[in-house]
């Protein structure tokens, strides 16, 4: 199968192990996203795939051909990999056109010019073709870097935190454009990020990475978001509400109703994790899994609102605990407004307690 195959890769800097037996596949035409905290070895993996770092253990193949491992070491310049660096690494002494042409030196002059014009159009920078990088805005530089990476029609594109240098508004626009360009190119793409929203927007599949430099879970965005395999993966997607309690009769009782205990036995300590956006909020009771609470604060976040309430409950540990609920639209309650909080049982994740 075409695309990138990484198998059993270990990597260490001195005594610091950054990758521990990571394996993954990026099929041609798919965009795979490595989601994990900084320092979990994501960038190292990209550098290994590009040949910029010497492989220590394991093997890497591109389009069925081993490029590193098993005694093979293909130099980076022969791998036909497009790499977009976090700092873009544009050549300051070359203008936009020459930056893009840099990788087209084996093409004929006419073809190279045509290809440069084509990618410039794709990223919408036709008017800036002869500007130098330092005169461009952050978003424009990002798009030059993308254009430069895809211009030589690589077999694989690697994106290292491609949107981290951009401000929020710009990020949303550039993200959309980048995705379109990559889909149009139909190339296997491996992207690393620590931003869950970015990962879910861009990726066909997400790999949740742990601190130990291994893949904890892999799946389509909906799978990994709605069915995290453990607490760590659940928390990769942002802060969660947490209730520590016990399983009883294949169920777990929470302030918001009963949720299935999965395979935890009676008396097992369990942790129930609920994303702020999993709660619903209404003015009337809505089924059995809902509860009346008094709102303690509400913050408008733009297109959504973050509502906070406290529960003084009979359940152990949850004394006066603060809960956060994120709901669409503006919610501007009076002080001490009382509302109903609802929870669909399948939106609560039950994992082993400490």
């Amino acid at each position: 199968m075409d695309g990138l195959h990484i198998h059993g890769v270990h990597h260490a800097y001195g005594d610091t192990k950054v990758l521990q037996g990571i394996s993954l596949t990026v099929p041609a035409g798919e965009l795979v996203c490595l989601l994990g905290p900084s320092g979990c070895g994501k960038t190292t993996l990209l550098r290994l795939a590009a040949g910029l770092e010497r492989l220590q253990a394991g093997s890497i193949a591109i389009d069925e051909k081993v490029v590193a491992g098993d005694g093979v070491k293909v130099l980076p310049e022969h791998r036909r990999v497009g790499y977009m660096f976090q700092d873009y690494a544009l050549f300051p002494h070359l203008d936009v056109t020459d930056n893009i042409m840099f990788g087209l030196f084996r093409w004929s002059g006419e073809e190279a010019k045509a290809r440069t014009a084509e990618v410039l159009r794709q990223v919408g920078l036709e008017q800036h073709a002869h500007k130098f990088p330092h005169t461009l805005s952050g978003g424009q530089q990002q798009r030059v870097a993308l254009a430069r990476a895809i211009a030589p029609k690589p077999r694989l594109v690697l994106l290292d935190e491609p949107f981290s240098g951009l401000d929020t508004n710009m990020r949303v626009r550039i993200r959309e454009q980048t995705l379109n360009v990559l889909k149009e190119a139909g190339v296997a793409t491996l992207m690393v990020t620590h931003d869950p929203e970015e990962a879910m927007y861009m990726a066909d599949r997400i790999k949740g990475m742990g601190e130990g430099g291994n893949v904890l879970q892999s799946g389509r965005p909906t799978e990994i978001y709605y069915q995290p395999v453990d607490e760590y993966v659940a928390r990769l997607f942002g802060p969660v509400n947490e209730i520590v309690t016990e399983a009883r009769g294949r169920e777990v009782k929470t302030p918001f109703g009963v949720v299935p205990a999965r395979d935890y036995a009676d008396g097992d300590r369990v942790k129930v994790l609920i994303r702020p956006e999993s709660f619903s909020l209404s003015n009337a009771a809505n089924g059995s899994n809902s509860r009346r609470v008094e709102v303690s604060a509400s913050h408008l976040l733009g297109d959504s609102s973050l509502v906070e309430f406290r529960l003084a409950d009979q359940l152990d540990d949850s004394e006066n605990q603060l809960f956060k609920v994120q709901i669409p639209g503006n919610f501007d309650p009076l002080d001490h407004t009382r509302v109903w909080i609802g929870l669909a049982p399948e939106d609560a994740f039950v994992f082993a307690g400490d």
Binding site: G82, D87, F102, G103, F105
Partner: protein, 568 residues
């Protein structure tokens, strides 16, 4: 990353060899001092006779020059960065001009006009009807005080540059906070700005004091008994190498102290840079008398340190112009240029080797080696001269002995007293200049740029040619120029290590001016000053480009390498 695997160990080995070579002269001095020839051991004699005088004079010189340069440098830097007064824009760069003037040149000029037979005293005698020197008091220029004044006038720009940079780097917020808290601007200067700038001032001051210890021409001419002069005296006049080496070792202790205090100041300085963006400084408007005072404070050092001596030299050069002499001087100039270009070129090649091996190989060992290799900038020329002579002499002798034994041919002295010896001395002393500049240039090429070039299909050599060479060109040329200019001005090492009967501009000027023939030497002296202007122009250009508030990188002084060396 841009270099084939096989070369990697070659890089490391070359760096190790270069560092070993750079350290040998200093090692030789210390070795000689610790193992004197039985008949040559005059240490106890030195201690009981001249050593106290050398120490007192040297310390006195350092204190005087230190106070003078800090007073002028800091106040000018403060006025130029924080205040607005007529001519401020010009003074911003003009304050640097005296840097082009070697201390020995200014010393000859001022001696010429201020001595008994000079125009100033002559005019005073005429005005007041004095007959002899006994009728009035006039300061003796050829004295410790004179040497302090001369060096202060040409060395203050170091303090000026570094304190200016320090003032610019300060977030204006802290000064505004001081104002809002009800303090006046002057209180803010002494309680906020000055303490924050202290590390920068200390670095500038250490550079000044290193130059002070290095000076030979001025103290020789003024007969001020500093260590540098003492080393020459014991070595040349008493023909006692061990004694000279012992004095040189004591001088090295002074230098070590300076280097350590500079490093210490840098360590602190790092924590002070809270914001990397320069805000537009508001500028305290000085009007009327205050403005005039500010102008005077800035104008005096420039007038006395550059404009007046240059003007006098031009007068003399015109007055004493003689085609025969001019063609003779052209020959010496050509000698200077050859020698300085050779040293500049070599220094840059060596710097490139070191900088790339640190980049490719990295690691603590190579980094320390590269730092060691650039320590020569702190070692006074007189000390290095002793070291170089005593490394090359024995080397020549052993080559000669070996060759006579095996081939029956005497090779004589191969290195000693040749251009190779001078060049070696220059290299050791000025390597820091080229290394710092090359490293700064290389630092602008991020490792990711290498990575980008490689993944775009370019091999190591192509990356070198298409990315590194164009990006490094300016730094390399700058490095050559910096070393070139300093070699043109260098006096103590050139005097001792040059081939017999080989004159350079500097040695010619020193010889003629010492014989009270400044008129004949003026043209040559003016040429040295002219060459010295080059880096000043470069710096001024950088300063003009980096207007506060435009987020540009601050200009670094000539010794930017010295600075960047210690900052890591």
């Amino acid at each position: 990353m841009a270099v084939p695997e096989g070369l990697k160990d070659g890089w490391t080995i070359s760096t190790a060899i270069i560092c070993a070579l750079a350290v040998t002269p200093v090692a030789a001095v210390v070795y000689l001092a610790l193992t004197p020839e039985p008949g040559d051991d005059i240490w106890s004699h030195l201690v009981s006779t001249v050593l106290p005088d050398y120490i007192i004079t040297t310390v006195g010189l350092m204190i005087g020059v230190g106070i003078g340069t800090v007073l002028i440098g800091v106040s000018a830097a403060w006025l130029v960065t924080m205040c607005r007064f007529p001519g401020r824009r010009i003074f911003e760069w003009a304050m640097l001009l005296p840097m082009a003037m070697p201390a020995y040149v200014i010393a000859y000029v001022y001696t010429d006009i201020l001595e008994y037979a000079g125009p100033v005293q002559g005019m005073l005698r005429e005005m007041f009807g004095w007959q002899t020197g006994r009728d009035y008091w006039f300061p003796e220029i050829r004295s410790l005080g004179g040497a302090i004044s001369m060096m202060t006038l040409v060395l203050y720009p170091y303090v000026y540059l570094l304190s200016r940079a320090a003032f610019l780097e300060q977030s204006i917020g802290v000064l505004e906070a001081s104002r809002v808290l009800g303090r006046g601007p002057w209180h803010g200067f002494f309680t906020v700005a000055l303490p924050l700038a202290r590390p920068g001032i200390v670095i500038g001051l250490s550079l000044v004091l290193m130059e002070t210890l290095n000076d030979f021409g001025t103290v020789d001419f003024f007969a001020v008994n500093t260590f540098s002069l003492g080393i020459f005296d014991v070595w040349m006049n008493m023909s006692n190498v061990s004694g000279a080496a012992q004095l040189a070792t004591v001088l090295l202790l002074f230098v070590a102290l300076l280097v350590l205090s500079e490093r210490y100041a840098r360590r602190k300085q790092r924590f002070h840079n809270t914001s990397s963006k320069y805000q537009a400084l508001p500028g305290l408007r000085l009007r009327g008398k205050l403005g005039l005072l500010a102008m005077t404070i800035c104008a005096l050092p420039v007038l006395l340190g550059f404009v007046l001596p240059t003007w006098i030299l031009i007068e003399y050069a015109v007055q004493y112009f003689d085609p025969l002499l001019a063609s003779e001087i052209a020959g010496y100039a050509w000698n200077s240029i050859k020698l300085s270009l050779l040293a500049g070129g070599l220094a840059v090649v060596v710097a490139i080797v070191i900088a790339y091996s640190v980049r490719i190989r990295g690691g603590q060992v190579l980094t320390s080696l590269s730092r060691l290799a650039s320590l020569g900038y702190a070692v006074p020329g007189a000390v290095l001269a002793v070291g170089v002579m005593n490394v090359l002499g024995p080397l020549d002798n052993s080559i000669d002995a070996y060759s006579r034994e095996t081939f029956g041919i005497s090779t004589g002295l191969i290195f000693s007293g040749t251009i190779a010896a001078v060049t070696f001395g220059y290299l050791v002393r000025f390597l820091a200049l080229s290394l710092g500049t090359v490293e700064a240039g290389l630092g602008k090429i991020t490792p990711n740029m290498d990575g980008a070039a490689r993944s775009l299909g370019h091999g190591a050599l192509s990356t070198m040619r298409r990315v590194h060479m164009p990006l490094m060109r300016t730094s390399v040329l700058t490095a050559v120029m910096l070393v070139f200019v300093d070699c043109m001005k260098e006096l103590p090492m050139t005097t001792i290590l040059r081939p017999f009967n080989f004159q350079t501009l500097a040695t010619f000027v020193h010889q003629y001016a010492s014989d009270e023939q400044l008129g004949e030497a003026a043209l040559a002296a003016l040429s040295i000053v002219g060459v010295g202007i080059l880096p000043v122009i470069l710096l001024s250009y950088a300063i003009a480009r980096s207007r506060p508030g435009h987020g540009q990188v601050m200009a670094r002084p000539r010794q930017k390498n010295k600075m960047s060396k210690g900052s890591r």
